[in-house]
Every structure is written in structure tokens, then in C-alpha cells.
Subunit: 113 residues, 2 copies
């Protein structure tokens, strides 16, 4: 799977995974994305952490340092604005995926090497 394909889709996927699981810290978001995608999404930390910071800056997520765990963890959670953004992202994904799918449907493809 070409790596740059994720561009422009990351925010939605992060919101989606948090909506599925409830609050999570960054490291486990990475693992969750990987497992839920069947191993297709193995996103590096340099991708995830800045994205989480951006989403928090935009008010779609809140974070707190977890006091429960021995190790320090920053736990992220959807805000209500984040939940609304999730709906928009979901719809944008549907539109995009549907459009792309209908382009692909017309094409006769050779079996991939």
C-alpha cells in the first residue's frame, strides 16, 4: 500500500478510532490503527503525535496526563466539536471513496504483478 495515500485522511481516521474505543494514548492509537486495519496502517510516531497535537489545537480532542499508569501517558479523548467533525469526515470519506470507486469500476485492470 503506497504510503502517501494516507494524506488528507489521517485526521478522520484518528477521530474514528477514538470514537470506536474511547480515550486512548498516542502509542495505543498506533496499535489500534494497525490492528483494526489488519496491519495495513503502520503509522510512525512522527506522523501520529504531530497530528494529535494539531487536532487538540483545533479543539477536536482534549488530552490529560494519565496518573493511573506507571509510565507517563497522554490520553486523548474526543470533544463534542470533535464528534461533530467526525460526522463531517465520515461523510467526506464516503463521498471520496464512492467517487474513486466509480472511477475504478470502469477500468479493466491486469492482475497486479
Amino acid at each position: 500500500m503506497r504510503a502517501e495515500m494516507i494524506k488528507g485522511h489521517l485526521d478522520g481516521l484518528l477521530l474514528a478510532v477514538l470514537a470506536s474505543t474511547g480515550p486512548l494514548h498516542g502509542y495505543s492509537i498506533i496499535e489500534e490503527l494497525s490492528s483494526r486495519s489488519g496491519g495495513s496502517f503502520k503509522l510512525p510516531e512522527g506522523t501520529i503525535y504531530p497530528a494529535l497535537h494539531r487536532l487538540e489545537r483545533e479543539g477536536l480532542l482534549t488530552s490529560r496526563w494519565s496518573q493511573a499508569a506507571a509510565r507517563r501517558r497522554r490520553v486523548y479523548e474526543l470533544t463534542s466539536r470533535g464528534r461533530r467533525a467526525l460526522g463531517r469526515e465520515r461523510q467526506a470519506w464516503s463521498a471520496f471513496a464512492g467517487a474513486a470507486e466509480s472511477i475504478w469500476r470502469g477500468a479493466v485492470c491486469p492482475p497486479a504483478a
Copy 2:
């Protein structure tokens, strides 16, 4: 539909549309992408032309100036390498779309505003 979503997917879509229709010139590729996507993909010329040049440089497309039409048109066509690349792109799209879909499946989304 967020615009940056197309990033990383354009090459495949261009190859796919050319595989569906046969040889086309740039301007009509734009129209074809728009109509086949139900109006979702309205890609500007500044996106399409550089991409076509890149794909030609990579040997996935060939072009010739059409002598038939009154207006000058550069007509693009898939090469055999392009056809093979199409298969790979198609597979990459399936993997990506499937992975993203399974992330989204888990999320409970509010109705988009």
C-alpha cells in the same frame, strides 16, 4: 469533499480513466473524471497537466499531438508499463480503501451537520 484527499490517489485515477476510455487529451480527462465521479472530482488544470507530464516521464503514458482536431490537443495513452502500473495501483487502492473502511466501521458517527 475535502480537496487534499486526492493526494496520493491521483496517478491511479488517471490511469484508470484512461484504461476505461482509451486515449484522451488532458482537458477531456478532467471532464471524464468529473462525470464518472458524479461531479465529486473537479480537478483543476494545474493538478492534471503536471501529473500527466510526470506519468509520461515515468513511462506509464505516451502522448502525441492530435492532428485531427482543429485545436491543438495532446492525446495521452497508456503504455504497457502503464497498464501494469494500473494493476498495482488498483490493488493499492483496494488495500487502502478496505483498511480505512474497517476503521470507519467501528466508529459511531453523529449525523454530519
